[in-house]
């Protein structure tokens, strides 16, 4: 069995973009060093803890997250996840499944990037967040809901977990934490997330360390501290001026 020093995953002490890989490592019971970097406090949120090491780890493209696996040194969150996926045979049983897994990883990453743009907004956060929750998020959720319905399987690809599940669960959970809605129109998604939380290999981790770790950095407008999903009663739409619609490509 590999020692903890064989595999080192380095990232901020947040869930962010590294948590899908952490989930995969916990699920496969792989010993690893969870190397955590901490931001300084407000107002500067200094990144010294990372910056002083950044260029001395032997990474080709120094960045967080990074993975050191023996003498393989990687950055790029998705590359790390799919590398671990291949290592632990969680990338599908044939070409079609592998491509679908990669597609789902990319698709959920698109969603997470949009969430990121909302959460770190200092100006106009409430309006931007509302637009995301009311307009952008439902489009993504409907796609995943319909996908799960069409697949008709326990997990995204089939009856076994794949690397895509760790990322899709995690990023849907980040959106769930921001959203004040009960997602009643997405029963498949709710069932999927419930099933993931009950995985015997992950249940304890999800209830403890995972729940205590914030989804974003300290400087984020939202999610810089560990928070729970809160439901708000649906209110009468407020009579405010519509903000200018942003251009989309």
């Amino acid at each position: 069995m590999a020692s903890k020093d064989q595999v080192i995953l380095g990232y901020w002490d947040i869930r962010g973009f590294a948590e899908p890989s952490r989930l995969l490592l916990h699920y496969t019971k792989t010993p690893f060093t969870n190397k955590l970097y901490h931001f300084g406090d407000a107002p500067d949120f200094k990144r010294e803890e990372w910056l002083k090491e950044k260029n001395s780890l032997g990474l080709d493209f120094p960045n967080l997250p990074y993975l050191i696996d023996g003498d393989l040194k990687l950055s790029q969150a998705k590359t790390i996840l799919t590398h671990l996926g291949r290592k632990f045979k969680l990338m599908g049983n044939n070409e079609r499944e592998t491509s679908l897994i990669e597609l789902l990883i990319d698709q959920s990453n698109d969603l997470r990037q949009e969430l990121n743009n909302v959460c770190y907004r200092a100006i106009n956060f409430d309006a931007v967040s509302k637009k995301f929750c009311d307009e952008t998020l439902p489009i993504h959720l409907k796609l995943f809901e319909d996908f799960l319905k069409r697949q008709g399987k326990k997990w995204l690809i089939g009856d076994n977990l794949t690397a895509a599940d760790f990322q899709v669960f995690e990023y849907l959970d980040h959106c769930w934490i921001l959203s004040n809605d009960n997602w009643a129109e997405y029963p498949k998604i709710l069932a999927y997330m419930k099933a993931f939380r009950e995985l015997p290999e992950l249940k304890k981790y999800l209830e403890s360390e995972h729940a205590k770790r914030p989804i974003n950095g300290k400087m984020a407008k939202f999610g810089g501290k560990a928070v729970q999903h809160e439901e708000k009663k649906k209110e009468e739409p407020a009579k405010t001026d519509e903000s200018e619609k942003s251009a989309t490509t």
Binding site: D60, F61, L72, L74, S75, Q76, K78, T79, T82, H83, R86, K87, E95, R96, T98, S99, L100, E102, L103, I105, D106, Q107, L143, D146, F147, R150, A247, T249
Partner: protein, 237 residues
């Protein structure tokens, strides 16, 4: 290429009539001599820049997550530019020879994608509309990112991005470096990065690739019509 009609129709790559995020895929397809049908969606002229040619058919293509680019291969239907690139890569043996090489191929593709995404807001935004704005981007972000790739090549001293054989990383890097270098209107930036300069030359000299680039890049703009920079084909230096 003497592909039969049925062979050619097997693979369909759908995207805007621009280089954008599909060009690395096109380079990989041409290098590997893979027959495919190019489905190009035209954008409308300003000021509306209508995207209706795509939007009117977007929901009826049978795609799980409708988006551009898309790839059809028999009954496989997929989206997400990098997932498509890796699929083509596996099909054409362009993902490296070992799991370690494969991981490096993907890391480089992701890093190059990040680079493309960093400067896209400049190309599409107010900064891209002025010479000063573009020069500022070139002098800061583009120079910094190019240095990372130049250092990478300097460190590894391989002929191609990963090892001594082409991989999809070569095509992703070539295209996104080229697209970013285009913003340097003096055409002097690449001379500061000798490893990158050599790499770009190596890729252009690959069979089928050089010819494709010469033809396609004279016809396809880098960015969409509504971009402030490179929404039309740029003049050759």
């Amino acid at each position: 290429m003497s592909a039969s009609d049925t062979e050619k129709n097997q693979l369909v790559l759908g995207y805007w009539a621009i280089r954008g995020l599909a060009e690395p895929i096109r380079l990989a397809l041409h290098y590997s001599n893979t027959p495919y049908t190019e489905k190009l969606y035209q954008q409308g002229e300003g000021p509306e820049f209508s995207l209706d040619e795509w939007f009117s058919v977007k929901q009826s293509q049978g795609l799980d997550f409708p988006n551009l680019p898309y790839l059809f291969d028999g009954d496989l239907k997929m989206t997400q530019s990098r997932a498509i690139l890796y699929y083509i890569g596996r099909k054409a043996n362009l993902m490296g020879k070992t799991p370690t090489e494969e991981a490096h191929v993907m890391m480089l593709c992701e890093q190059a994608h990040d680079f493309r995404m960093k400067t896209a807001p400049v190309a599409y935004g107010p900064e891209g509309a002025t010479k000063e704005g573009r020069k500022n981007c070139v002098d800061t972000v583009i120079s910094e990112e190019l240095k990372k790739f130049d250092d990478y090549f300097g460190k590894h001293k391989t002929k191609f991005a990963v090892g001594d054989h082409p991989t999809v990383a070569d095509f992703q890097l070539y295209e996104y470096i080229d697209a970013n270098l285009a913003m340097d209107e003096e055409h002097t930036l690449v001379d500061k990065f000798s490893n990158i300069k050599q790499f770009m030359k190596t890729i252009r000299e690959l069979p089928r690739v050089g010819d494709y680039i010469t033809k396609a890049h004279a016809q396809l703009p880098i960015n969409s019509k509504m971009a402030k920079f490179a929404g039309k084909v740029l003049e050759e230096k």
